[in-house]
Every structure is written in structure tokens, then in C-alpha cells.
């Protein structure tokens, strides 16, 4: 009797488990579900997905990414799955990954009607990716170590003698720092950019594993200044850490913007619902939500209202670094295998 009950229980468990597995694969192909891969931090992306679900009734299965140094990354998964993708949309935290997907044949072109009002210079001209809501690359500094009158104003200050051994940045082979490095090579030219990175090495700038670590170590006083993103700065400010930030090179080459990019995946299981999600992402209301939420992302539209106490300047009030985001991916690829790789190897 006991043996029969055990066999029955085991059989039911196995069948339910297998049904669960089949369910988890089939649910993504029904019209009321979409799969969204995202490199935007989960804490920022999830509320937006929930709003989309509430409005449309389409369930979003969100697949967030880890920091690039901590795993092989979602982009590799997208590339590996490209012949039969699972994802419908890729919500990228920067346009360079979107450009890489275009180059690898993973994405499809989509002109969203809700892209109206978004400046076109941050998006792909062929609409393989459309940019919205941005972060900025800023210099974070510890207020206890750097007096207000001596705060840095340019990325060249990372090589200033007063910050020797006290400056840090994330590994320029990964994440938004890699995009920043590629942008510097595009804007300054190879010779000046090489000279700049060599001056950083000469000033004992420390290479850390991520922007988050730059934020943590500057906030804790291990370093005086560092290069990071505005969302990292915002986390530190909200936690009451003694940090300030500057938009670098307001008188010079300008501040690099890192806009989000919405990408439709080619041959996706639910392209129509995927397009609806992209339309939702590109709306002014979403830019407002991303500005109001924990991300404090800067809207690209100039007419989107900002919440009270929004900590960052509008795009129109910034000196923006003029880059061709579409060309950054190729630039980054060549640098990652040559100068940047050698520079990191020598200075790690």
C-alpha cells in the first residue's frame, strides 16, 4: 500500500514537473505573452513592464542581465539563439549593443509611430534600434576628499597630479565604459585618445570591475574621483553617501549620453506584440516614468515633464558629446582587440 502510494506520488510529481516545463516553453508562443531581454537594471525595467501588462493585458516575461563582467551576458544568448529566437524585444541600456545585434543580423527594422518627438541623432537611421531615455557619463567625487572648489571638471582631471592614485574607472572592455572609450577615440582621434589613456596609466588610475564598484569605492572614500553613469550616482546620493558629480567637459568635447535602445528581434515568436511593447517604451509617458522612478533617467524629449527635485539636467541644458552611435560598435570591436585590450592588460 505504502509502495503504491509512493509510486503514485512520484508519478504525479514527474508529470506535473514535465507539464511545467512544457508550459514554460509554450506560454511564450501564445499571443498574450512576450519575452523581453534587457540589459537595463531589473529594478528599473520591471515597473515599466508591469505598467505595460496592466495597460495591454499582454504578459511580459522579463529576462534581465547581470553586469557584463559577472557572466557571459545576455547578448551572447541572443546571438546564439538568432536562428530561432526566444526573445521578441531587446531593451538595451545603450545603443552600442543594439548596433552589435544589427551587425550580427539578430534585429529587425521597425519604425514605431510612437517615436515621434524623439531626436533622431541617437537612433539608427534604418530603425534597427530607436533610442529613448538616457543616462550620462559623469565624474563622481567624494565630497569629504575633494573640496568643492577643487572638484574635477573634465575627464582629463583623472590624469591630474592632484588625483594621482586616487582616480578609478570601470574596465574599458565592458559595459558603458567601453562605449565611452570608443566615443573618445571617435571624437578625439586615435593619437589624442591613445595619449589620454596613457596619461591615465601614468597617473595610476585604478581599473575596477564595474561602474557599481566605482560608485561604491568613491562613496567609501577609497578613491577620490571616478568615471561612472548617472544612475550609479543617483543610487549613492539616495543612500546618503557623501558624493557629488559633474558633467565633464562642458567647455570642451562635452558629456557622453548613453540612451536606452529598443530593438525588435528578427524572426521573433510574437513580432506584433513585440512592436506594441516597443511603441510603449518609446512613448513620452515611459520617459516620464523612467525619470520619476529609481533610475532617474533623463528624457530625450525636451517637452517631457520632470519630477520635482530631479537631480540631473535636461539634454538641452548639457553640452553633449557629438558621436555617431552607429559607428561606435565597429570602433569598439577593433579597439577591444587592440589598444584597449593591451592597455587593460598592462594596467590591470
Amino acid at each position: 500500500m505504502k509502495r503504491r502510494s509512493f509510486c503514485y506520488l512520484a508519478g504525479v510529481t514527474i508529470i506535473k514537473g514535465l507539464a511545467g516545463c512544457a508550459g514554460s516553453t509554450s506560454s511564450s508562443s501564445s499571443s498574450k505573452n512576450i519575452v523581453v531581454y534587457t540589459s537595463v537594471d531589473e529594478v528599473f525595467a520591471e515597473p515599466i513592464c508591469k505598467r505595460f501588462e496592466k495597460e495591454t493585458g499582454i504578459k511580459v516575461q522579463l529576462m534581465p542581465d547581470t553586469e557584463e563582467t559577472k557572466s557571459t551576458g545576455l547578448l551572447n544568448r541572443l546571438i546564439a539563439e538568432k536562428d530561432r529566437p526566444r526573445a521578441d524585444v531587446f531593451w538595451s541600456g545603450d545603443p552600442v549593443r543594439a548596433a552589435i545585434l544589427k551587425a550580427k543580423g539578430v534585429s529587425a527594422s521597425y519604425q514605431s509611430p510612437d517615436a515621434k518627438g524623439l531626436p533622431t541623432e541617437y537612433s539608427d537611421p534604418e530603425r534597427y534600434w530607436t533610442s529613448f531615455s538616457t543616462r550620462a557619463r559623469v565624474i563622481i567625487y567624494n565630497k569629504n576628499l575633494v573640496p568643492e572648489e577643487k572638484k574635477p571638471t573634465s575627464i582629463y582631471d583623472l590624469a591630474a597630479p592632484r588625483f594621482k592614485g586616487k582616480a578609478c574607472l570601470a574596465n574599458p572592455l565592458f559595459g558603458t565604459m567601453s562605449m565611452h572609450a570608443a566615443a573618445l577615440f571617435q571624437v578625439l582621434g586615435h593619437e589624442k585618445a591613445t595619449k589620454f589613456f596613457d596619461s591615465l596609466a601614468g597617473n595610476a588610475v585604478k581599473i575596477l570591475s564595474s561602474n557599481g564598484e566605482v560608485r561604491r569605492r568613491v562613496a567609501n572614500g577609497q578613491f577620490a574621483i571616478g568615471l561612472t553613469d548617472t544612475d550609479d550616482v543617483y543610487v549613492a546620493v539616495k543612500e546618503g553617501k557623501p558624493v557629488g558629480f559633474v558633467y565633464p567637459d562642458a567647455e570642451g568635447i562635452g558629456t557622453l549620453l548613453v540612451p536606452n535602445a529598443a530593438v525588435l528581434i528578427a524572426r521573433s515568436p510574437n513580432p506584433d506584440d513585440g512592436k506594441k511593447f516597443i511603441d510603449f517604451l518609446l512613448r513620452a509617458e515611459t520617459e516620464t516614468a523612467l525619470a520619476s522612478g529609481e533610475a532617474a533617467q533623463i528624457p530625450l524629449r525636451s517637452d517631457v515633464s520632470l519630477p520635482n527635485g530631479f537631480p540631473f539636467k535636461r539634454v538641452a541644458d548639457l553640452k553633449v558629446m557629438k558621436v555617431d552611435y552607429g559607428l561606435l560598435a565597429d570602433k569598439l570591436e577593433s579597439l577591444s582587440y587592440s589598444f584597449l585590450k593591451d592597455w587593460v592588460d598592462k594596467n590591470l
Binding site: G17, L18, G20, C21, A22, S24, T25, S26, S28, V35, V36, Y37, D41, E42, V43, F44, Q61, L62, P64, T66, E67, E68, T69, K70, S71, T72, G73, N76, R77, I79, A80, E81, D83, R84, R86, A87, I100, K104, N171, L173, F174, L208, S209, S210, N211, E213, R216, R217, G221, Q222, D231, V235, K238, E239, E294, A295, E333, S336, D342, D345
Partner: protein, 494 residues
């Protein structure tokens, strides 16, 4: 090896024209080999004497200290390094150098690796007979006991330490956090910076080939004694002995290793939770992810144990086959986890949609994790099967009991404690494998360790620390369950 085969086909036919062997890759490989050797030596110098003392002597807090000794193995090295970094940033004395660079990697990875030679030595020592120990003690006191025991346990301890060193070759965690060149970081760069799947795959194969070249001579020389030491049947086991000095030395040694290996970095990791506890949100995350985590890890455990049990029963009577299986098991364990995971991704993409319930579901995650840690389960099951008396098989033959009846009604119930321990070990080890899980998990389904790594970037530090704390407590609970199960099962047996 099956999931690796499509990847192997792809990397040889792939489009990348980049050279696998560059100066940077070569330098990183040399650095990694030095680090691996250092980790092996460090863990052997600490693990061997401690394992010996723990097996031979009684000491206060024996059970919990032995239990906690396993903890460092069960956490990703990233978390331990971040813990040390947090401490270095907040409470570290300025006159003492904080862990960083090669030395930092050696320190953290070495401490994390100590459990392997420790438990290897401990298990080998348990195969000494009481009469051997008594004779040594009578002949020349504790010094002779220790000397002879070291000679007996050394092959196992060395092999375990070397395995620990080899496992660091595929771990980029500590090198990335502490800023140290390693071949694992090179492979990660190929994946995450160059997005060159083919190049990364080729680099993985070079690393795997190197590992096989390093392990093979050791397997040939050392495995027979490993097989004897770990898999031989016990006769009259040695009973731990109370010694006035050595008992306390053992206890203090274990406390020091556990403190440095797990307690202190965990305090560093969880420090922000003291200032800003977010246990409510962390518990919510635990509830949301617990089902998926249990499915992945439980499925991995069941897969690994079923395969390992079959392997153990098949190889029970053939020592050469047992040797071969152990050699393959060690080689599989040393392969980078991304290799199999990406192979499965490719296979799943090329497979027909009707097979998605196997290739693109929670089941595939559980299966691949189970295959990854099947070597651990194999060693556990082989040891358990090896300790069974052959007279039972003879009695079953004499009485004409069928094979299935004998194995299901006699052997499996007797092996239940070992099965449970092996299952729990694989479960906890597979929970710590972020790479495989993150690459294969179905959208919308996330395990708790992967959730920690996805929120790490920009969540409040208190939330990340609370999640780490919740994860650690769950792991400790599982370990406690693993230690109590054998006792519970023995009471249930007639």
C-alpha cells in the same frame, strides 16, 4: 560530453579569424597556471593537516565546525571577493595591505579551496583502521600516528588540492574583482567584450585541453591510491581520540579557516544590511524565486545522483573501469561551465520546436547542471557502493532474488543516507553556478543566486546584502539537513 560536441563543431567551423594564441592569452595562461599552483599548494598546506587532525581527534564543536568547513565551496568567488572589498573600504586597518592583485586572488581562492583537500584527507583518514592507529600510537605516540597518517592520506590530499587548483582556471571572479590577469578573464572578454563566440569557444577548448594534459599524468600515477583511499570498504573505523593539546589545535585551526574563508567576507558582504536592512524585499524575492531555484537545483541533484548511482553500480566490481570513470569525472569538473551551456543553447536553437520542452525549459537547466556536477555525485556514490558488503549480493543470488527486487528493496534503502548527502551537495553547488543557469534559464524564471547578480549593479546595497544573507541562511539550512538526514534514516531502518 554531448552538449559540448556542437560547440566543438561550431568553433572549428566558425567565422572568427582572430588568433586564439596571442601574447596576452599566453601571458594570462601562465598567470593562471601560477595562480592555480599557488591555490593548490596553499589549500594543501592548510587542508591536509587540518583534515588529518579533524579525523583523528575529538574537539569541541566538532559537528558544526565540520559542517561550516564546506561553506566556502558553495559560494561564487565573486561574492567572497566583494565581501573582502567592502571590508577593505570600511573597517580595514590602514597599516595592513588589503587583498588585491595576484596575492588577493591567491588568498581568497586558496581559502575557498581548502575544503577540498580537507575533506579528501578526512575521508581518506577514515579508511585507516583502529588497529593501525593503535599500533602506531603504541609504537611511538602521537608523532608516529600523524606521520604515518600523512603518508597514507597524502595522495588523496594532493589530488584534491590539484583539483581545487584546476577549478580556479575557469573562475574569473577573483581576478576581475582584484585586478589580476587570468585565462578565465580572457575568455570572459571574448564573450562579453568582443562577442566572438567562436574565439571564446576555441579558448575554452585550449583551456580544457591543457587541463586534460595536466590531469592525465596525475590520474595515471595517483588515481589507484585515490581509488583505494576513497573507495575501499571500511573494516573497524578509527575512533576520534581526545588529546589535550591537539584537540584544541584542531578546533582553533578550523575556527581560523572558517573565519577567514567564509565568516569575515560574509560580514563584509552583509555589512550594508546592518545599516539599511531590506529583509522584507529580500524575503519577497526569495519567495518568488524559491520554486525555480528548487526545481533547478533539485532537478540537478536528482539527475546527478541517478547517473552516479548507475555508474557506481556498474563499476562496483571493475577497478579499472572505476579508475576510468573517476578520471573522466575530474576532467568534466574542470571544464569551464560556459562551454556546455553555450553548446546546449546552440543545440536548442537548431533542434525542432517540438523538443523545446526538453531543450528550452527548466528541465534543460536542471539536466545540464546535473551533468556538470555529476562527478561530485559519482565520487559520493562510488564510495557508498564500495562500502557495501559483497555477502548481500551472494545471499541474494543464493536465494534467487531478482536483480530489480534486490537493488530496490535492499541496496537503495541502505544507500539512502549517501544518496541524500550527495543530492544536497549537488543542489548547493549547482545553485552557485551562475553562468550555466543565466545562459539557460527560461525567460521569466530566475533562481535566487542569479537574481542577486542581476540586481547587484544598481540596487541599494542593503537589498543586495539582505539577499546574500537570505541565500547564505538557506544554504546553511540545507547543509544542516544534509548532516541530520543520515542519523534520521539510520533510526528508521529496522
Amino acid at each position: 560530453m554531448a552538449p559540448v560536441l556542437p560547440l566543438i563543431a561550431n568553433v572549428f567551423g566558425g567565422e572568427s579569424t582572430r588568433l586564439v594564441w596571442s601574447r596576452a592569452f599566453g601571458d594570462s595562461l601562465v598567470n593562471s597556471l601560477l595562480l592555480a599552483s599557488g591555490v593548490a599548494t596553499f589549500s594543501l598546506l592548510i587542508g591536509l593537516p587540518l583534515g588529518l587532525l579533524a579525523a583523528l581527534y575529538r574537539f569541541p564543536g566538532r559537528s558544526p565546525l565540520l559542517l561550516f568547513q564546506a561553506l566556502p565551496l558553495l559560494l561564487p568567488s565573486f561574492l567572497l571577493c566583494i565581501g573582502w572589498s567592502n571590508l577593505a573600504a570600511s573597517v580595514w586597518p590602514t597599516w595592513f595591505p588589503a587583498p588585491s592583485g595576484f596575492a588577493g586572488c591567491l588568498f581568497v581562492l586558496g581559502l575557498q579551496a581548502v575544503p577540498l583537500p580537507f575533506f579528501g584527507t578526512w575521508a581518506a583518514c577514515r579508511n585507516l583502521t583502529a588497529s593501525q592507529i593503535d599500533a602506531a600510537r603504541l609504537h611511538g605516540g602521537e608523532w608516529v600516528v600523524l606521520r604515518q597518517s600523512v603518508r597514507f592520506c597524502l595522495p588523496v590530499a594532493v589530488l584534491a588540492a590539484v583539483l581545487a587548483g584546476i577549478l580556479t582556471l575557469s573562475d574569473p571572479g577573483a581576478p576581475l574583482i582584484f585586478g589580476c590577469r587570468s585565462v578565465a578573464v580572457e575568455i570572459r572578454s571574448s564573450f562579453s567584450a568582443l562577442y566572438d563566440f567562436t574565439l571564446a569557444g576555441r579558448q575554452c577548448l585550449v583551456l580544457a585541453g591543457l587541463v586534460i594534459l595536466l590531469i592525465l599524468p596525475m590520474m595515471i600515477v595517483g588515481l589507484p591510491s585515490l581509488a583505494t583511499a576513497m573507495l575501499a570498504r571500511q573494516t573497524r573505523p578509527v575512533m576520534p581520540y581526545s588529546h589535550r593539546v591537539l584537540s584544541w589545535v584542531t578546533m582553533l585551526g578550523l575556527v581560523t579557516v572558517i573565519s577567514l574563508g567564509i565568516v569575515i567576507p560574509t560580514l563584509g558582504l552583509c555589512l550594508p544590511a546592518v545599516k539599511n536592512p531590506m529583509l522584507g524585499r529580500a524575503s519577497e524575492k526569495l519567495l518568488v524565486t524559491s520554486g525555480t531555484t528548487l526545481f533547478f537545483t533539485g532537478g540537478a541533484g536528482v539527475t546527478a545522483i541517478l547517473l552516479a548511482l548507475c555508474m557506481a553500480l556498474v563499476t562496483a566490481k571493475d577497478s579499472r573501469l572505476r579508475l576510468f570513470v573517476l578520471a573522466v569525472a575530474f576532467m568534466l569538473l574542470a571544464l569551464p561551465p560556459a562551454l556546455a551551456a553555450l553548446g546546449v543553447l546552440r543545440m536548442a536553437t537548431d533542434a525542432p520546436a517540438q523538443l523545446d520542452w526538453i531543450t528550452r525549459s527548466r528541465l534543460s537547466v536542471a539536466l545540464i547542471l546535473g551533468l556538470r556536477f555529476f562527478p561530485i555525485a559519482t565520487v559520493t556514490m562510488m564510495r557508498a557502493v564500495g562500502s557495501l558488503s559483497p555477502s548481500w549480493t551472494d545471499a541474494a543470488l543464493v536465494h534467487g532474488v531478482s536483480w530489480t527486487r534486490f537493488h530496490f528493496r535492499v541496496i537503495v534503502p541502505l544507500l539512502m543516507p549517501s544518496i541524500a548527502v550527495g543530492l544536497l551537495l549537488v543542489m548547493v553547488l549547482s545553485a552557485a553556478d551562475i553562468t550555466t543557469t543565466h545562459l539557460l534559464q527560461p525567460p521569466g524564471e530566475q533562481s535566487l543566486p542569479v537574481a542577486i547578480f542581476t540586481v547587484m549593479a544598481n540596487s541599494p546595497e542593503g537589498l543586495v546584502a539582505s539577499l546574500c544573507l537570505v541565500y547564505l541562511l538557506s544554504v546553511i539550512l540545507l547543509l544542516v539537513a544534509a548532516s541530520l538526514l543520515p542519523r534520521f534514516w539510520r533510526r528508521r531502518l529496522p
